[in-house]
């Protein structure tokens, strides 16, 4: 599965798609493949402030639990309502299944994030 060029990536395998000061955050195809069947996604309540690099939730597969790390700082506006009953959407369509929408504190602060080709290279090491 190719990594869309319309977004940035973290070394922890999250993606973030910016649209002005609003961004959607999800996990990559590589991450969902490593996790296996996702059965539960725990996300913050809207209104919570998250800081770049901070754990803002967790994702549980049948075999293990992993933390979700915020790619950038901001305020959580919305969590994806489909994930409550259909966490498996993360496996089926990882790059279309956003988990949270965030109002970014500083939309320019993308410094340490990777572009799609850098991220793809990371997954091949």
């Amino acid at each position: 599965m190719p990594y869309p060029a319309d977004r940035k990536y973290t070394k922890d395998h999250e993606w973030i798609r910016l649209n002005g000061e609003i961004a959607e955050v999800g996990i990559t195809d590589f991450a969902q493949d490593q996790l296996g069947d996702v059965v539960f996604v725990e996300l913050p309540d809207p209104g919570r402030h998250v800081t770049a690099g901070e754990s803002f939730g967790s994702i549980e597969s049948v075999k293990a639990v992993s933390e979700l790390f915020a790619p950038m700082s901001g305020e959580v506006l919305e969590v994806n309502p489909t994930l409550k009953d259909h966490p498996e959407a993360v496996n089926a369509k990882p790059h279309e299944t956003w988990m949270v929408k965030v109002r970014l504190s500083d939309p320019e602060a993308t410094g340490s994030l990777l572009d799609s080709s850098q991220y793809e290279a990371l997954t091949r090491t």
Partner: protein
Amino acid sequence: MTDTAASLRTTPLHARHRASGARMVPYAGWEMPVEYSGIVNEHLAVRSRAGIFDVSHMGEIEVAGKGALEAVQRVSSNDAAALKVGQAQYAGLLTPEGTFIDDMLVYRMGPSHFMLVVNAANTVKDFAWISEQVKLTGDAACVDSSSRYALLAIQGPAARDVLQPLTGVELSDIRYYWFSYGEVAAARVTISRTGYTGEDGYEIFVPPNMADRVWQALLESGRHADVIPCGLGARDTLRLEAAMRLYGNDIDESTTVLEAGLGWTIGWRKSDFIGRERLLEQKERGLARTLVGFEMLERGIARQGYAVLHQGNRVGQVTSGTQTPFLKKAIGMAYVPTAFSTPGSQIEIDVRGRVTKAQVVPLPFYKRVMGSGVI
């Protein structure tokens, strides 16, 4: 995991797993397939049809000679004298404290010949222990014959229909926890009606050079019924639903047979075995803690190592836990004070800092509906 791959052992089916796209992980010193098509898919296949597993990492230790029965009786918790030739039983390999060096299946191959099937991670430790004990009882020999066997399992309601066309052995004649010899796909094998999934099925001991042939034959025979290869991930979720204990999680050298709820594996009537005295004391004194099953009442999944709480105080520890694919519930097993061990008892699990309600439930979580066949 590529860093350590060189030092990991591999089964005769390793190349087959890799070529088939299985995800390989290090497990107990072996590089093993953890999943093929996904744990949920594999788990449901075994509950509804059948799945095929490579469990060749398991160890085999044979004890033979005039004193074999005496030696096995000494190291095994269960009563091996009750076994007929061709029969197997589950047992503990115990420390003098009545705790688990390992758990195992004891196969009676002949009047004075036993095979103990043990966990991969413990094979070396077990062999050293058993050898030492065999020396004490005398007149028997003990061999680690693990490298002589590949072990394949076919598990699920369709297992017999898939295996039967490949063998002249009349499978309906093999009762639950019995075994027989014969050929499968022209390989000389031992077919055992045992497993670690809570389903009916067979475990097949195969010469290593014939493992791939038998594996392929099983897949081919099962193709019409959509029988699929499965990894250790589904094996773990299947055994947990069936409440079968996993060494290193639910039982180890710090837990006794009685605490683990495995008192039925103790052959009290035989004259002596290692651990007997302590277990008898514990039985008379009563248990301070017990292994129980629980279900989460609130959202959250308990995992191995999470604390069990009661009114905010830590009272125990989760030994296994997952969201199970078939029952679709978050379940687990934990050691709790015996006062909280009756079904219905309310406990809490510390899920990464969040206190989450759970309830003790009877084990097993899942029990297959027995068919009309011979069980």
